[in-house]
Symmetry: C2
Subunit: 654 residues, 2 copies
């Protein structure tokens, strides 16, 4: 790919692409996403030529430990010009849709007559693999619906995947498919040598402002290699003699390695100067904007800096135990409504199901092309359609643009459809927020096809991801607070369909530690630790035990990761040694052994029935939990030894 | 949907659908998949009318605990006429592609001139949501490529999703998209009343044998309701007065509930008779086939019965420690090649990457439409393209047909793209096998975008799923043996890119227990338990310890679930009390606390570099592991109490 796509890359970056000076994060720079991220050598070389912080030594360290040039482009770390992490196919093109939405929203929000602060384009390269992945269909259908004229995608139509000719599995008519999505489609039949054709295609794409553009570019994989056009050049390095003849063919010295001719550096130096010029012009325009639109200027400057508005967190609702029982999805709606007002950077949305997951605040305007008459580009609520995976990748693009805090909505079970994007949020250190309702068997009648039992632990196992399961209103507010302040960590907030009481002892401050004591008891016989909808059940189990004179502490643990980040002293105070710990959660128990000596949950799929009956079926009720607690206490009494908390145990080897 | 799609349902089942007698699993019955599974009331009613084992009382128990009529259709349990579990959108249409592939393969394998044993159709209903999900794009693009003329899909074009009018997010041209996939597309503009149009469309679809057919049927959601055509009828029950007027409108008695007029029963009785007739004819044909083609008859009869060929397991390769070190993906290739010969029902495939995951045996014929000249329908290797999620759902359809053991191939990290389908395999008790290579940081240079660190535990958390991570050749054979014998459980076999030695002490028999002792030591100071590529590293750590006079036992635990299914006595013998247990795995440690007192792994993402350097970076080498083991031993010595194994502890509350 780095060879086959080199010609179009040269045309794009030398003639069209508005880069920033030396990789400065200029907010109106053109964005580039390499969706076929396995060809990242090409991107690293361009970043080097554009004068970004990527030296020839960095290029030599390609795919080596701790280098700036890993095997696939990793965003959020230290490689310049990488907007989003790509490589897993289909992600990059979907990220590009997010970047384009973010620009459209920024332009509609901040541009004024004579002040076109936002007009950048988003360019993406993609290959056959990206087109085959369903996520790209989702994202591109939505991009067509939204008429994103700032998005220009170049399809490397080289007819080769790792399995050989695409004839073996991919014979659809790609152009027709993109026409069906209402894209503008341009075809260039010789991407190896027809530089004029490539120039004209990119020029035409600049002018199409009411549709995204797909340029289908026929290329020869490994063009110039002795094996050009074959799958052999896809994954394996070219042999030495092949490289030598290829260099000769293109007028390069075959004896020189990691060498860029001075005339190429000179040419790119001019391109760098041009980029610096664009940026300087923009800085001057922004300065004038300050004079005419001081409020908007201050707001935009704040958003560019990433600083949250002063006192935003005061918007978070606070509850007391006398407040009525409410589903946490409903409490989330209240919190989101307040936050949407306090945080103009919050850009919401949902993959259908909006009326169920309650993610749309009452005065929200939809993000839509204005011709739809259903909203406009300044709208802050995205109708993603039933497209969870694209939603995840688009949120990554929204975050990457640099002005938004994206939130989304679906059922927790369907976050599973999007795990490929979720793990890249975490790997990229991107703050995106999933609002994931109907978070357990408590959704009832829809049954096991919709009841997550494993999803919570699957998300907890992803590094740098907050999986949150608040138990009441204060915990919901706390989780939003943590999620918004976690500038390098994505969060999934799991919420109940069913009503939950407001708990005695919960506060935003305490819950913000990820785990805390709801009810302290001296010389306790046992600690019950639970999350979400099971906290109140565990509380009632503790009351059952109390009737028998058994003393139970109660701990709520809404977020493993945030709790793990607290001091050892604090964690030990929450889950101390000395008495057994029993966990209670309506999920598979795997993973709970980290915090509890014994676990209570369900290690099978759920069932379709009214929620209380499902809870009863799986013994997730106060009496059976209290009975199990008694057994646990008896067991450890017989052991007759002082019990070590899992926290203390783990700390010994940290 | 059950109201809006009632007219086409009546046309389909009364005029075209070849049902079996009383729900008998007749192998050549037409298949029906309700991809918009939330409308399952419709399917349950049809099953009732067709005389399947679903009584009026069952219908009354709709969405009630342990009923045969759960909130979404659940296959593999006790609801008749449910071929595949649907509801999570996009799954059903993709299952239908699998059912159609299975029929095409069966026909090409067993049909003879004059003996068309296989000619059934697969019908699927799907809605806007299914079309928006990327998985349906993947599956339908492949179905078009494969020219599956036996597949007829009916798109309920009612312009309504939960979010309201599809204008808010779904404005693509569906017909054009399906033409791009090379489907035959038919449009019916009045699915409420134009019965003749519906008949003609289905009649036309019967005749199209070289392409799948999509019938776009414009319907009115909740047709006849006072709220017809609106989102209000999507999820909420109709009100009593609305139901009353609707019944009147259609000539029914509004005072009667759960009532089917006798004339409808009479009509469906005739349809039942017709189905019984088809089946009887087929039985007679199959009897004649026995005379002419006794070998094929015996083979097909065996496959229908689900019995494996005698002695198939002898095909599994056996290794000894003197055999050379080989990557488990390569050992898997050897095993799969042998199994493909021994098990004609094995139907392989891969989502691209075939040359990397080594899932194609050397003399495999691709499953392709013969006009492609790349294979034919009797071929047993499916080129899925880069479409992991569809691959998972198609495998569910292949299994559901009843004649195949589907296997697939991709990198373990990209099984994440397909979790939505994987959990339905597990929920449905479907035996499908994922061959998941490049299973850890050991893949090296491709880096953290491709290195699973959380996927193993995510899969282990799914009920009724075997996540397997064999350590050498005998364990690879053992995992295939277990996976093939697990007739109600899907399996994911995780395999290394890098070479691994053949271990002293491993046997197929022992490894088939999911966990076993590789090296026993009396009065051990510690047990090291590991999986896959880390077993040999743990073995070397034990050798390091031995140098210091420290006695370490070594346990391999290739499959948590299979191990959990062993007797308590056996499990205690593998992981006994008395000495601490330290786990070693190149994944996040969450979940390992279930088997080990202390865990060693990596709780961050991996890194792009040659594999040995990545292992070094994360201290997954013999010396640091031995050092940690010493710390663990010291810690527990200081505790001075007899140590209880997690197995024994858990057993106390089982």
């Amino acid at each position: 790919m780095p060879i086959g796509m080199a010609p179009i890359t040269q045309v794009l970056f030398s003639k069209f692409f508005k880069s920033s000076a030396k990789g400065h994060p200029w907010i109106n720079r053109d964005r580039f996403v390499l969706s076929n991220g396995h060809g990242c050598a090409l991107q690293y070389i361009i970043a080097h030529l554009l004068g970004y912080d990527l030296s020839m030594d960095d290029l030599k360290a390609f795919r080596q430990l701790d280098s700036k040039t890993p095997g696939h482009p990793e965003a959020g770390h230290h490689t310049p010009m990488v907007e989003c992490t790509t490589g897993p196919l289909g992600q990059g093109i979907s990220n590009a849709v997010g970047l384009a939405i973010a620009e459209a929203n920024a332009a509609a929000t901040f541009n004024k007559p004579g002040f076109e602060l936002f007009n950048n384009k988003t360019y993406a390269f993609l290959g056959d693999g990206c087109l085959q992945e369903g996520i790209s269909s989702e994202a591109c259908s939505l991009a067509g619906h939204l008429k994103l004229g700032n998005l220009i995608c170049i399809y490397d139509d080289n007819h080769i995947s790792i399995d050989g000719d695409t004839a073996c599995s991919f014979t659809e008519d790609v152009e027709q498919r993109y026409l069906a999505y209402d894209w503008h489609v341009i075809s260039v039949n010789d991407g190896d040598k027809d530089f004029e054709g490539m120039y004209k295609a990119l020029e035409e794409a600049q002018k199409v402002t009411d549709k995204p553009t797909l340029i289908r570019l026929k290329t020869t994989i490994g063009f110039g290699s002795l094996n050009q056009g074959g799958a052999a050049t896809h994954g394996a390095p070219l042999k030495a003699d092949d490289i030598a003849q290829l260099k000769k063919k293109f007028g390069l010295d075959p004896e020189q390695f990691f060498h860029v001719p001075q005339e190429v550096y000179d040419e790119y130096h001019k391109i760098q100067q041009r980029g610096a010029g664009y940026q300087k012009e923009w800085d001057s325009l922004f300065e004038q904007y300050k004079g005419k639109f001081p409020t908007e200027h201050a707001e935009l400057a704040r958003r560019i800096s990433g600083k949250l508005p002063d006192g935003w967190e005061k918007a978070l609702p606070v509850y007391s135990p006398s407040d009525s029982a409410v589903a946490t999805r409903k409490l989330s709606e209240t919190a989101l409504s307040k936050l949407a007002a306090a945080l103009p950077e919050l850009l919401g949305g949902s993959a259908d199901l909006t009326g169920s997951n309650l993610t749309r605040w009452s005065d929200a305007v939809d993000f839509q092309n204005p011709t739809s008459k259903l909203g406009d580009y300044s709208g802050r609520y995205i109708r993603y359609g039933v497209r969870e995976h694209a939603m995840g990748a688009i949120m990554n693009g929204l975050h990457a643009y640099g002005l938004h805090i994206p939130t989304s909505g679906t059922f927790l079970n369907f976050v599973s459809y999007a795990i490929g994007a979720v793990r890249l949020s975490a790997l990229s250190n991107f703050r995106v927020i999933w609002v994931a309702t109907h978070d357990s068997i408590g959704l009832g009648e829809d049954g096991p096809t919709h009841q997550p039992v494993e999803t919570g632990m699957a998300l907890r196992a992803i590094p740098n991801l907050n999986f949150m399961r608040p138990a009441d209103g204060n915990e919901v507010s706390a989780m939003y607070k943590v999620a918004i302040e976690a500038i390098k960590t994505p969060s999934v907030i799991a919420l109940s369909r069913q009503n939950l009481p407001q708990l005695e002892g919960s506060t935003i401050e305490k819950a913000s530690k990820g785990g805390y004591v709801l009810k302290e008891v001296q010389n306790a016989d046992i600690t019950l630790v639970a999350t979400g909808s099971e906290v109140a059940i565990a509380r009632d189990a503790a009351a059952e035990l109390e009737k028998k004179g058994i003393k139970a502490r109660l701990v709520s643990l809404p977020c493993f990761k945030v709790f793990d980040d607290q001091s050892l002293e604090y964690r030990k105070s929450v889950l101390p040694s000395g008495a057994p710990i029993l966990s209670v959660e309506a999920y598979t128990t795997l993973g709970w052994h980290k915090y509890a000596h014994v676990q209570h949950g369900l290690n099978t799929f759920g069932a379709s029935a009214p929620a209380p009956q499902v809870y009863k079926k799986f013994k997730l009720e106060p009496v059976p939990i209290a009975e199990k607690a008694e057994k646990v206490i008896d067991y450890y009494k017989k052991q007759g030894t002082p019990l070590v908390s899992p926290i203390e145990l783990a700390a010994a080897f940290e």
